[in-house]
């Protein structure tokens, strides 16, 4: 299977404080990875780099065999393949439907194709009938599901999830777990941060453990147990 991401000597610091220092890491396409580590271990920073939202201070990031140049035009194209769902996702101050179609419209998709993609994503996330609701009137769990639907509507090559199950009730959590588990089969690679060891086994994922910005272990949870 081809390498989706290759990270070589990736370093990132905030001011003088180093937050990420990865010698080498390869992520394969069509897999589900869980990224673990204590608060401040660099998980979110790594996701930001993988989402092409912030460049590393040093090292090379290779995506699908091509080095990422971090120029504006290239980034725009790359960002259309990768979608990041933030830990506390922001919903635009408009309707649920407008939120879910935002990324599709940015890609020039209109008409029936747009509507079908949005409705399918809403249905997957258990949100049929929510399309006319204002995003500001939703509960935390509903908002999380809308954000997930908004990401899924784009059918990205890579979905990056920053603790998507951290602030949701058990019902939403199991629904989202079910959705996440099905994504690699549908052609979307998933990289997800989590603090909960149960999620690694539930998802049968490959675990990457970070400590002080360094990768200290990289294993499939079904083979090595919970790290």
């Amino acid at each position: 299977m081809s390498a989706l991401y290759q990270l070589k000597d990736i370093g990132r610091r905030y001011g003088t404080r180093p937050v990420l220092d990865i010698d080498s890491l390869q992520l394969q396409a069509g897999r589900l990875y869980t990224l673990t580590g204590a608060n401040g271990s660099g998980k979110t920073t790594l996701l930001q780099i993988l989402a092409f939202l912030q460049p590393p201070n040093s090292g090379n990031l290779i995506f699908r065999g091509l080095p990422v140049t971090w120029s504006r035009g290239v980034l725009r194209q790359l960002r259309r393949e990768v979608t990041l769902l933030h830990q506390s996702p922001y919903l635009f101050a408009t309707s649920v439907y407008a939120n879910v179609t935002f990324g599709l419209r940015s890609r020039g998709i209109r008409g029936e194709k747009l509507r079908r993609a949005a409705m399918a994503a809403l249905e997957t996330c258990g949100l049929s009938g929510f399309e006319g609701r204002s995003a500001r009137e939703l509960s935390g769990g509903e908002a999380q599901r809308v954000a997930m639907a908004r990401a899924l509507a784009l059918q990205p090559a890579v979905l990056l999830l920053d603790e998507p199950l951290a602030n949701v009730d058990s019902e939403t959590s199991s629904l989202l777990l079910q959705v996440i588990r099905s994504l690699p089969k549908a052609g979307t690679s998933v990289i997800m941060t989590t603090h909960d060891p149960r999620h690694q086994s539930d998802l049968n994922s490959i675990t990457i453990h970070l400590e002080n910005g360094c990768v200290v272990s990289n294993a499939t949870s079904s083979h090595s147990g919970i790290l």
Partner: protein, 228 residues
């Protein structure tokens, strides 16, 4: 007290009878103020948003300058624009002085820092996740900015309302650049100043009531927008 009551009664009669001079002054005021706010918003909103979202050298100084310009005395604005529009001034050939156009130019200058200041404040106070969210959903720079502006739309509308409140109630620019010509450039504020000095207190009071009603309406609208 009788004088006040009698004046109030006359003022209300003038309003109810839709007295030509009252209606004309109100119309001129509203027309000039609305146009100046449209122009100030067209320039000021994109400028305020641009200043807010970009980091550049001298940004703090620029923001301080904008804040300072908000407190510009209206007569100073009138004076400077007068210098440009007077016959000997660089724009004298356009013969705009003592016309509604001159009043609009002056009031636009007056409104611009207000629109910029409030737009800038609205964007700076916006949720920091808006732009990264739009970017990660694949939106280009312009679409990201449009989304940002839409999400802070109430703050932006508040900027426009605040600017309108400032220009509709000012007298310095309207007097110096409009010249208070009856049926042409006479606005509510200039008419109040002139007619009262001539002893037409009731007429001034009638316009004052209109002005207060406009101010009250603007304040209610402004508060509603700020609460949202």
């Amino acid at each position: 007290m009788e004088f006040l009551f009698e004046s109030l009664r006359t003022a209300l009669t003038l309003i109810l009878a839709l007295d030509f001079d009252v209606v004309d002054a109100v119309g001129t005021s509203l027309k000039v103020s609305i146009w100046s706010v449209i122009l100030a918003a067209t320039v000021g909103i994109p400028f305020g948003v641009a200043v807010a979202v970009n980091e550049f050298r001298g940004k703090r100084i620029l923001i301080t300058l904008i804040n300072t310009l908000m407190a510009l005395p209206t007569v100073v604005v009138g004076l400077v624009v007068y210098g440009f529009l007077s016959r000997q001034g660089p724009l004298g050939e356009l013969s705009l002085l003592f016309s509604p156009a001159a009043m609009i130019i002056g009031q636009t200058v007056l409104a611009l820092p207000i629109v910029v200041h409030y737009s800038l404040g609205a964007v700076r106070g916006a949720d920091a996740r808006i732009l990264p969210t739009a970017r990660t959903l694949g939106a280009g720079p312009l679409r990201c900015l449009i989304r940002l502006v839409l999400d802070v739309r109430f703050g932006i509308v508040a900027a426009v309302i605040a600017a309108f409140g400032r220009v509709v109630a000012e007298v310095g620019v309207a007097m110096m650049l409009g010249g208070n010509i009856r049926g042409y450039t006479r606005s509510m504020t200039t008419a109040i100043a002139l007619e009262t000095s001539k002893g037409e207190f009731a007429f001034g009071l009638a316009l004052g009531i209109f002005l207060m009603a406009v101010a009250l309406f603007i304040n209610i609208l402004f508060n509603v927008m700020q609460e949202r």
